[in-house]
Subunit: 296 residues, 2 copies
């Protein structure tokens, strides 16, 4: 299959759905709606929603009704980017090749745009229109999955440890905690939300969960490598920002070549975990490979 | 009835429930858990959860299973206080008589503690243990109610307009927008969540909604008056902080005496809206009166 064409098609579907879920920029008060849209429609690749769709697809479920649910993963992802970029946090000026939200709208509006997107994810998931396609019990399980991945036991926890580790000697377990929580939790959750939506059986759910963990890890190693080797054009943010901030990364523990080798190995593990799935899981398989292709 | 004793008893119930819902301070990573608890257990009066309980009580529903749901209103309220106090926002040093969260834990942890509490509200509401007492469909309606009150169409929207109005000539409709969104939305939502939990009929739900709106307004007028006339000891934050920031308030439009008169009038309206309820609604009636007693 042509994974690039697949990703492009899926991105268009997700963007179209997000466009409908998020209020127009002119909605009162416009500042926060503009800021939310500025960050949400900044050219993100929609990896998380696409993983959710591919996961449901692997189980043979039609994905039309999953689109707004998958979009809520992007609302959560964007909220976390806006807050992480704040001066009090990672203090980043560039994101996806453009000035960060607080650089354009100021810190107050950026904090509130993040809060707005975070709340909106749960507004979308609890929208009674969802109930036409998904019974309430399953929607609740999806909300539980997303809020846990986004909160103190997921992304928030990871960001706390990341912030506290800056400029310190960090051991590998700490780096692993940061990776599995700051990035890994929501990626795993994306796959699991697709699986919950598609009523995965217990064994399928476990396999997809582990697949999500491996893909999250591969994604993070690839990201660390790109921060070292990519150009600003490719990665859309300051190059070498991890080094500048003295942040520990995968390559700083294992070197560039070994990190590349591990990224490929982890992606292969992800593919192997899908061995009991038929060809409907090919998009998941290709996605895992694609993530590490970027760095090899 | 002795409203003070009632409030005291209810506050203890709520605090005990929150204590169980929120992870211990030593949970990893401790900084964010300590910060969340610091702000959550800072002696808040638990007005919002108590309103939810009193609303369900007015409809004859037992409230034991409502406690964690009502507690999520306090998680949301506390998140909003932490974020509103940030230097980029209202820049407040004192809250409930103690240094604000960012003064103690730093800005990064304060932002993340707010994010953690916001996510946790939805983790609590989607906890499968809730389903023993409340069917999934009703829990979804409660999540929809809370996320809408907390997001861009509620508190976030109100805070945006409040921030943007600082130092500007503000007309009364703008002040009203700020009041009904920044404070009013969550107070109204508290009453409505109690009503949803207790399966209110359509007319009851409408009456309780309007009651919640009146109580929210009375609460805000009282708060504005206390900011002018209270001592730091009574109000637990900087006195005259609205004046210092040149913020428009109810008294700045109508003067102190007229504001007092209106507060009482609005509380009476709230009581009148409960005319078709029996004595089980007495706590709601007394609550409305109590809110404006503080300033008379």
């Amino acid at each position: 299959m042509d994974i690039k064409a697949y990703l492009q098609k899926r991105k268009i579907l997700i963007d179209r759905s997000l466009e409908k879920q998020v209020p127009p920029a002119k909605t009162f008060p416009p500042a926060v709606h503009e800021a939310m849209r500025y960050s949400l429609f900044a050219g993100g690749k929609r990896v998380r929603p696409i993983l959710a769709l591919a996961s449901a697809e692997a189980l043979g479920a039609p994905v039309a009704d999953l689109l707004p649910i998958a979009g809520s993963l992007e609302l959560i992802h964007t909220y976390s980017l806006i807050h992480d970029d704040l001066p009090a946090m990672d203090d980043d000026d560039l994101r996806r090749g453009r000035p960060t939200c607080h650089k354009v709208y100021g810190e107050a509006i950026a904090i509130l745009a993040g809060d707005g997107l975070l709340n909106m994810a749960f507004e979308v998931l609890s929208d009674p229109r969802r109930l036409k396609a998904v019974p309430a019990g399953r929607m609740l399980a999806i909300i539980r999955e997303l809020s846990t991945a986004s909160g103190v036991f997921g992304m928030v926890g990871g960001q706390v440890v990341d912030i506290q580790s800056e400029g310190k000697e960090v051991d590998f377990p700490t780096l692993e905690y940061i990776h599995t929580h700051k990035t890994g939790a929501l990626i795993r959750s994306s796959v699991r939300i697709g699986a919950l939506y598609a009523r995965a059986g217990k064994r399928q759910f476990t396999a997809l969960t582990h697949y999500g963990e491996m893909v999250g890890l591969a994604f993070q190693i690839a990201d660390d490598i790109l921060d070292l080797t990519g150009t600003q054009e490719v990665i859309g943010k300051d190059v070498g920002s991890d080094l500048k901030k003295d942040k520990k990364t995968f390559p700083s523990f294992y070197g560039l070549e070994e990190s590349r080798r591990r990224a490929v190995e982890v992606a292969e593990k992800a593919v192997h975990l899908l061995k009991d799935f038929d060809r409907k899981a090919d998009p998941l398989r290709e996605l895992a490979k694609y993530i590490v292709q970027r760095v090899n």
